[in-house]
Amino acid sequence: MKLRILVADDHEIVRRGLCSLLQKHEGWEICGEASDGRDAVEKAKQLKPDVVILDVGMPNLNGLDATRQLMQHDPNFKIIVLTITDSDQVIREALDSGARGFVLKSDAARDLVSAVEALQHKRMFFTPRVNDLVLAGFLDKGHAISRNEPPSLPTLTAREREITQLLAEGKSSKEVASLLNLSTKTVETHRSNIMRKLSFHSIRDLVVYAIKNNIIQIDLPPQMKNPTGSPAA
């Protein structure tokens, strides 16, 4: 029986590249494709793939929150997240969300097949940097927080994170309500709760928060990038 893989990335050209790479492997098939996190969650629930590959920076629902939703629905989902950065924060969020594989997009051509093979055999796959951090006691949150990290902002619920992403992407409360099948009034209530929890007074504060916390990702022009930095795909 073939290993069934669901591929989610908002760029069709990247999905084509990923599918082309994976389809070369005998015994694997692409059972579905998704172009944002919400689409991925729906298709994963419907198609029940053996492995789900999720880009982190997707519109409507990012890959990390999509991972959380899928793991909540069924903890047996095997998920690989694809990211453009292996910053400490993204790594920690990916591990916390329940992903079993973590692959840098720039290394996908080299690492993705190994990652899928690892999950197929009930193992995990992480980049060397993740392994280093885990070895360094990265997951020892109590110590890490007390030693190195500033006091964190209050935690948002999964629904509040979803709404934060949509608002930070520029959608109105009415548009958010329509996307999530909620009433505009319910969205407004969530919006007020988010702003109150985070002590924010403007949508600008919320956008900055969403960027800093990898809820949304932005593309910077080359002039604003570190020449050795890792660009988006």
Partner: protein, 137 residues
């Protein structure tokens, strides 16, 4: 018409996706790949493609700088940017640098073939996220 194409993007998986798309067009051939601007300049010189498909944001040398250099060295070669920057300002910079075409990566599957065809015939092709303009000169 046979067209020889050089693909330049720092992400191999994106190059793979572009190659898969271009492979469907009979007569077109991907003759080489490069992963940054400096390599693109070298390969443009050695391979002399008809069309270069070029990313903007890359390590070592970005696509805009590479485009300016290549246009000086090989003015007959046409350059088509395929980038994640869905911005009129970036598009203007790309055209000022000497590119003949500009396609947003999120729409590459829709626009790439038409854009390669146009620039190979020395026509301008520009398309931001919403299909803004396709013109020839």
């Amino acid at each position: 018409m046979a067209i020889r194409i050089l693909l330049v993007d720092d992400h191999p998986i994106v190059r793979q996706g572009l190659k898969t798309l271009l492979a469907g067009h009979p007569g077109w051939e991907v003759i080489g790949e490069a992963s940054d601007g400096m390599e693109a300049v070298d390969k443009a010189d050695s391979l002399r493609p008809d069309v270069m498909v070029l990313d903007v944001t890359m390590p070592r040398m970005n696509g805009l700088e590479a485009c300016r250099l290549i246009r000086r060295k090989a003015p007959g070669m046409e350059i088509l940017f395929v980038t994640q920057h869905d911005s009129p300002q970036m598009m203007r910079e790309a055209l000022e640098a000497g590119a003949r075409g500009y396609v947003v990566k999120s729409n590459a599957a829709r626009d790439l073939l038409e854009a390669v065809e146009a620039v190979s015939q020395h026509r301008v092709f520009t398309a931001l996220n919403r299909r803004d303009s396709v013109s020839s000169c």
